[in-house]
């Protein structure tokens, strides 16, 4: 309660001072801005693309392309949204026994929402001199996988590391396991679909 009161008082005072400041500034400049903490350039988000290889269980390995958006929530935690897709070729089994499904169902589409935790924060040197920020992290979350005409509730786990090559450009190397239940081959089973990905992201 006391805190609230303080805040109200502070805010009112601040507003009055800002008003006074801007009115005095107006006399000197046509576009006044006050020095404000909210004007500071922030680096909370990064957005990126990634390419990878995905092993779809009971199928082959496929190239994936994906996009991701990360919100760096604290120095330890981040939240990430991912979308990726791949085109599944015929498995060896299908080539000998006939296709299990065709057309759009052969597209492997996946999206997920993850929480990440930086196990190690680090600084790295490509050469002696300037340090670049890096980290080793683990992720876990949930999402959806569309494949073979099925939509499946998917758990995602993974580990990866990232390093900056420039102030705002991050390279990420990721291992992910997409775990979901499926019965496309005729038997209900939990599958592990692993992926190695290499991505580049821009921090803003």
């Amino acid at each position: 309660m006391e805190y609230w009161f303080q805040r109200i008082l502070l805010n009112t005072k601040r507003t009055i001072i800002i008003l006074l400041m801007t009115s005095t500034q107006l006399a000197y400049s046509s576009e006044p801005t006050k020095p404000d903490a909210n004007n500071i350039d922030t680096e909370y988000f990064d957005a990126g693309i990634s390419l990878g290889i995905l092993n779809i269980e009971d199928f082959g390995s496929e190239f994936t392309a994906g996009v991701n958006l990360t919100f760096n929530a604290t120095e330890n935690f981040f939240m990430q949204m991912n979308y990726l897709q791949a085109n599944a070729d015929e498995s060896s089994f299908e080539l000998s026994q006939g296709n299990l499904f065709s057309g759009g169902d052969r597209n492997f589409k996946h999206y997920d929402f993850l929480v990440g935790y930086n196990l190690f924060q680090g600084e790295h040197f490509f050469s002696e001199g300037k340090a670049n920020l890096s980290s080793l992290y683990v992720v876990a979350g949930v999402g959806d996988t569309e494949f073979g005409g099925e939509g499946s509730f998917t758990y995602t786990t993974g580990i990866g590391y990232q390093f900056a090559i420039q102030r705002s450009v991050i390279i990420r190397l990721d291992f992910r396991d997409y775990i979901y239940k499926t019965n496309i081959i005729g038997e209900d089973k939990t599958t592990h679909n692993t992926q190695l990905g290499l991505g580049i992201s821009y921090l803003f």
Partner: protein, 241 residues
């Protein structure tokens, strides 16, 4: 002090935020994390220029040109050129989150009603006009071996004690739910209906703008003949920005 303000006005675009250190000292780390070593200490009374901000950390430049990362709670205890405390509340959990946007996801399982045993996850986007009141839109999916579904909802969230580290949240919402039974044999009383829901959950502030939320949500689905009740336990994460 006035000269500072006026010099600042001349380049209104990229305004440097100059602050005066009132703590005995501010430590500069080599990176934005507690683990990064401290390599320099800015003394009380010196000026610092704030360059960029990452969650929990500010990149600052000392008077002698040294650039490093300072923890936000230390930078918060500095003074503006006007002599005012800079408006960077260090911590008070949800209380400072007024006027902030929020994105989050949660996962859960229905433990009652016709969807018992179904997995569910949803993504939500919200806005918090007051420190104790938020609203969100939610889009979710429901999975069971023979059932697929989705729902969209609008929720109001009441969080009266948002200054607490662990704080209760009351949710009231309304929305639409659509269920497709894959083979049409599941004994579900509805396919496409509207619902109202209410729930109780707890926010746990893991960081300044990162929240773990866990709770219980109860749904009343109004079907043609009857009201179907559903209930769900869930856990999720939210980030404010």
């Amino acid at each position: 002090m006035t000269t500072l303000i006026f010099s600042a006005v001349t380049n209104a675009q990229e305004l440097p935020l100059n602050l005066k250190v009132i703590d005995p000292y501010i430590e500069l780390h080599s990176g934005p994390g507690a683990g990064y070593p401290t390599f320099y200490t800015i003394e009380q009374g010196e000026d610092v220029t704030v360059l960029t901000r990452r969650t929990g950390w500010y990149e600052v430049k000392a008077q002698n040109g040294k650039i490093g990362w300072a923890v936000a709670s230390q930078v918060a205890r500095t003074l503006l050129p006007t002599g005012e405390p800079v408006d960077l509340p260090s911590v008070s959990y949800g209380d400072y989150l007024k006027n902030s946007w929020r994105a989050g996801f949660k996962m859960g399982r229905f433990n009652d009603g016709g969807l018992e045993g179904s997995d569910v996850f949803s993504f939500s986007l919200g806005y918090r006009p007051l420190s104790w009141l938020g609203m969100e839109i939610e889009d979710g999916k429901i999975y069971k071996s023979e059932i697929k579904g989705n729902f969209q909802a609008i929720n109001l969230l009441f969080e009266p004690f948002s200054q607490w580290k662990v704080s209760p949240v009351l949710t009231v919402g309304t929305g639409k739910i659509e269920i497709e039974s894959q083979p049409e044999l599941t004994p579900l009383e509805f396919d496409k209906e509207s619902f109202t829901s209410f729930g109780l959950s707890a926010n746990y502030y893991l960081g300044r703008n990162f929240v773990l939320k866990a709770g219980y949500q109860s749904y009343i689905v109004s079907t043609n003949t009857d009201n179907e009740r559903l209930a769900q336990w869930n856990i999720g994460f939210n980030a404010f920005f």
